[in-house]
């Protein structure tokens, strides 16, 4: 009999603080700060740099043995002071680690003391605190915790503005740029958080930048409380853990909750919502994008129909991708995530009610060894997910279509689109090409037309 596994083998998730650091990079003039050991900051920097190819400074309070015994207050304060001096940030985003959480540091209390003690010094940055113990959840939870903490710290009450908040989830810099383009084309003022489209995918520097340009300014985030609505992507993201959920509770800003808009149906929902909220039709350019996509679906449908794939990654990405794949006739025989919200199956079922008849299997809290075991039984035509699936892809000779985060073994992951008609188009093209390439390689004839 097969026993339940105890150890995690080739994890399909990362730790909580990584997500927080990425989210904090989406605030203008902000330095992410990890309250814990030096290694956490360094490992996370290395991991993010390998995907985004940008300098990513993450400060650390650099615990020593005495710190762990007597508490991290002293180190945190010195660290904040040094970061303030060296980076002159507008915001410092402090995320905790397993170490500082386990010793029970009262970080909000320490931040209050710090503000009091140093109030007469140089300009005091806004201090945000997100609780991100690595023994809870995974990187995506840290991401959302940081976004929620940011809004909680900065959003203010004000007269209702004609402003839309948009919380897009953990998406690529290219996706963020596309969302901004859409909102700008609708000519609606917006507050998008986090916006790391430039900080994580920016231009060259003629001179040194302490903090790379870009990101949502604190002053704009402050207006989130007076927005007319929030749009939040992420099927498994509960209101109690989300920024939009907080704004609804605290300021009565209506929360519109959508899945990641991947595929035509889910993208339609997003555009329709924008039309409703702005009382105007979408600009013609997006109808064109949609028409081209429908046309491409027609051109490519035979290649993809009844292909079997395994999709893995963050749960919300998996839900969005599953919706898209099922609308083009691909069966995601396994939807897998290292995350464990308990909502993955339910979220997929909401979008695809006949999922069981279609043979869609869902597994949360798995690692790559679990997924590999499944792959050997399910025999998918290809895998879809981040670079970390390459080990099993190579071993089992199943092609891997890379998307999401991290992309460590291909170029340009930060410029990959996933969302909306444009992102879906890009994904559809890549999927069809994956199938064509496979067939071409498998053919003994060597067709030049496929």
């Amino acid at each position: 009999m097969k026993h339940a596994k105890t150890a995690t083998q080739n994890a399909c998730k990362l730790c909580n603080p990584l997500g927080a650091c990425l989210a904090f990079r989406g605030i203008e003039n902000c330095v992410p700060f990890l309250h814990g050991s030096q290694g956490c900051a360094t490992y996370i920097r290395r991991y993010l740099i390998s995907h985004y190819k940008e300098p990513i400074d993450i400060a650390s309070s650099n615990f020593h043995e005495e710190t762990a015994v007597f508490g991290g207050s002293h180190n945190l304060k010195i660290g904040l002071k040094n970061v303030s001096e060296q980076y002159k940030p507008a915001v410092i985003g402090v995320a905790t680690t397993c170490l500082s959480e386990t010793i029970g540091d009262d970080v909000p209390g320490i931040l209050r003391e710090y503000k009091q003690e140093f109030k007469n010094g140089s300009p005091m940055p806004v201090l945000i605190h997100a609780s991100t113990p690595s023994y809870q959840g995974s990187h995506i939870d840290g991401f959302h915790a940081a976004v929620r903490a940011t809004v909680k710290t900065l959003a203010e009450k004000g007269a209702r503005e004609n402003l839309i908040n948009i919380f897009p989830n953990m998406i690529s810099p290219a996706d963020i740029r596309y969302l901004k383009e859409i909102l700008e084309d609708f000519q609606v003022p917006y507050m998008l958080l986090p916006d790391y489209s430039q900080t994580m995918d920016g231009g060259p520097w003629g001179e040194y930048h302490r903090i790379p340009p870009g990101g949502t300014p604190a002053s704009v985030i402050a207006m989130a409380g007076s927005a007319r609505a929030s749009i939040e992507f992420g099927s498994t993201l509960e209101a109690s853990k989300s920024a939009a959920g907080y704004l609804e509770d605290a300021f009565g800003v209506t929360r519109y909750h959508l899945s990641l808009p991947i595929g035509i149906k889910e993208s339609d929902k997003f555009f329709s919502l924008l039309e409703t909220l702005t009382q105007q039709d979408r600009p013609e350019k997006y109808n064109d994008e949609r028409r081209r996509l429908v046309d491409a679906y027609a051109d490519g449908h035979k290649y993809v129909f009844e292909q079997k794939v395994i999709i893995y990654g963050e749960e919300d990405l998996v839900v969005g991708m599953t919706a898209f794949l099922s609308e083009i006739g691909i069966t995601p025989v396994l939807c897998a995530s290292g995350g464990k919200s308990g909502l993955l199956r339910k979220s997929i079922k909401e979008l695809i009610p006949d999922m069981d008849d279609m043979g869609i299997k869902v597994r949360e809290g798995v690692d790559f060894v679990d997924i590999e075991d499944e792959a050997q039984l399910l025999k998918p035509d290809f895998l879809i997910g981040n670079s970390k699936g390459y080990t099993m892809s190579r071993k089992n000779n199943i092609p891997l279509l890379r998307l999401g985060f991290p992309i460590h073994d291909r170029f340009g992951g930060q410029r990959m689109h996933h969302l909306g008609y444009r992102g879906t188009q890009e994904l559809f093209d890549r999927i069809v090409n994956t199938v064509i390439e496979q067939r071409q390689n498998a053919s003994s004839i060597g067709y030049t037309y496929m």
Binding site: N10, A11, S37, A68, Q86, L99, S134, P204, G206
Partner: protein, 453 residues
């Protein structure tokens, strides 16, 4: 341009070589300053990098998922056989484990992983919170060793209990427990262990071949392409040859004390140091003049082939300036010499973990005006790259984007590289990589000093 200043707590870790000016001793061997964005990692990282290449051992990280996830298959340390080291295992501690302790989970994880993967030994790395929740790892390891019959070795690598160097020591401590448990029968008198060589991109194989050509038996490589059985009989070698002195000198000293094996420090980077590392080993066996003759033969053959091929690079790179920021100081010495041999000068030299002697030697080697840094950070590195107008940065993944943002070349000299830089062929690869990066036409589009191109 905006003035960048050095943080108050770091001023003793940075100095510029100037004659006639009295200079402070560089302060090093200290913990990183809180908030300074050190390029260093932690104790765990030190242990993990040293033991990682042991390919037939199980490496289980006891802690929450991050530490194992970030070190999954990240080094270019290759194996000629088993590849267990390239998988990532974690006890993935959850909140309840933190409250009630993780010993049971550790025990079950070990039993099931050993059953599944049949390793020759297991290394159990403790991470930060394991040090806090008080799991008795020693006891669990003993129990599992008894039940499975393989060595199960705790590595005390709690991230916050020191610096990366303490992690090296914890790893060496685990290795010491293995050394001496194997048979030394049949080991030649003319034998060595290669210490501190991790077989990145197959470098250990290159080095090993040189020594074997000299008639030297290599008993074990610690830890590149490492095997538990080879580690167990390492005490049978006559000499320890230590590269990457930061990580392995402690082990060499322990072996000297316990088994009377002397050690020498070497470096395999650059023609000069590579040749010296062969001669120094040959000198250790004076009764066999043929070994020295063979060493000379190896060097002369290799250099004869290498030297002309370097001239193209030297011609192009003459007068270019380099900045070096790597993990260990010993590597910095070799790099300075290697760069000089292709016509380049060094304007910044530093390391994460150098000691006082290292920095004294660096100061001696460096040209006037060279900046020397210990445990630096991105702000300082950028400042000096710009001020000194460097054309190249040599470092690791974390330094790479600094170079590219500032529009200069970069050479990866860290664990992730896929091209061997050690040995004579490594010198060619190094020169080629430097040349390809520094001379690339893409830098013509990089804005310089705020001037738009």
């Amino acid at each position: 341009m905006e003035q960048i200043t050095i943080l108050e707590g770091r001023q003793k870790q940075v100095f510029e070589k100037k004659t006639g000016v009295e200079q402070l001793d560089i302060s090093c061997d200290t913990s990183s300053l809180s908030g300074s964005v050190s390029q260093r990692a932690c104790v765990f990282c030190g242990s993990r990098v040293v033991l990682y290449p042991v390919a037939d051992a199980l490496h289980l990280v006891h802690g929450p998922i991050g530490c194992a996830a970030y070190t999954w298959d990240i080094r270019g340390a290759v194996s000629s056989g088993p590849e267990l080291h390239r998988l990532s295992f974690s006890t993935d501690l959850q909140e309840m484990d933190v409250i009630y302790g993780g010993e049971k989970k550790l025990y079950h994880s070990l039993i099931e992983l050993i059953e599944k993967y049949k390793p020759k030994a297991a290394f159990i790395y403790s991470t930060c919170i394991v040090g806090l929740i008080g799991d008795d790892i020693e006891a669990v390891c003993k129990k599992v060793a008894k039940e499975t019959g393989i060595p199960v070795l705790p590595v005390h690598s709690e991230g916050f209990k020191g610096t990366k160097k303490d992690g090296y020591k914890a790893a060496c401590h685990a290795l010491m427990k293995l050394i001496g448990t194997g048979s030394t029968e049949g080991i030649s008198k003319y034998s060595i262990n290669i210490l501190g060589e991790f077989n990145l991109a197959g470098e250990a194989w290159i080095i090993r071949k040189y020594y074997e050509k000299m008639g030297i038996e290599v008993v074990s490589t610690l830890t590149g392409d490492g095997r538990i059985d080879a580690v167990r009989r390492a005490h049978g070698a006559s000499l320890n040859v230590v590269q990457c002195s930061g990580s392995m000198t402690w082990l060499a000293k322990e072996m000297e004390q316990k088994y009377g094996i002397p050690f020498i420090r070497v470096s395999y980077f650059g023609i000069e140091d590579m040749s010296k590392s062969l001669y120094d080993v040959a000198k250790h066996f004076p009764d066999r003049t043929d070994i020295m003759e063979a060493a000379k033969q190896v060097v002369s053959e290799e250099v004869k082939e290498l030297y002309p091929s370097l001239q193209k690079f030297k011609k192009a790179l003459s007068g270019k300036k380099a900045a070096i920021y790597v993990g260990g100081a010993f590597k910095t010495f070799s790099l300075i010499k290697a760069l000089r041999s292709i016509g380049m000068s060094v304007v910044l030299a530093g390391s994460q973990t150098g000691n006082k002697d290292d920095y004294a030697r660096l100061k001696e080697m460096c040209d006037e005006g060279t900046v020397i840094v210990d445990d630096s950070n991105p702000v300082e590195l950028s400042k000096f790259i710009l001020e000194k107008e460097a054309d190249l940065l040599i470092g690791g993944v974390k330094e790479r984007p600094i170079a590219f943002k500032l529009g200069i070349g970069f050479c990866d000299h860290n664990h992730e590289r896929k091209i061997p830089l050690a040995g004579f062929i490594g010198m060619y690869n190094f020169a080629l990589e430097v040349y390809q990066s520094v001379m690339s036409p893409v830098w013509q589009f990089a804005p310089r000093k705020g001037v738009k191109v």
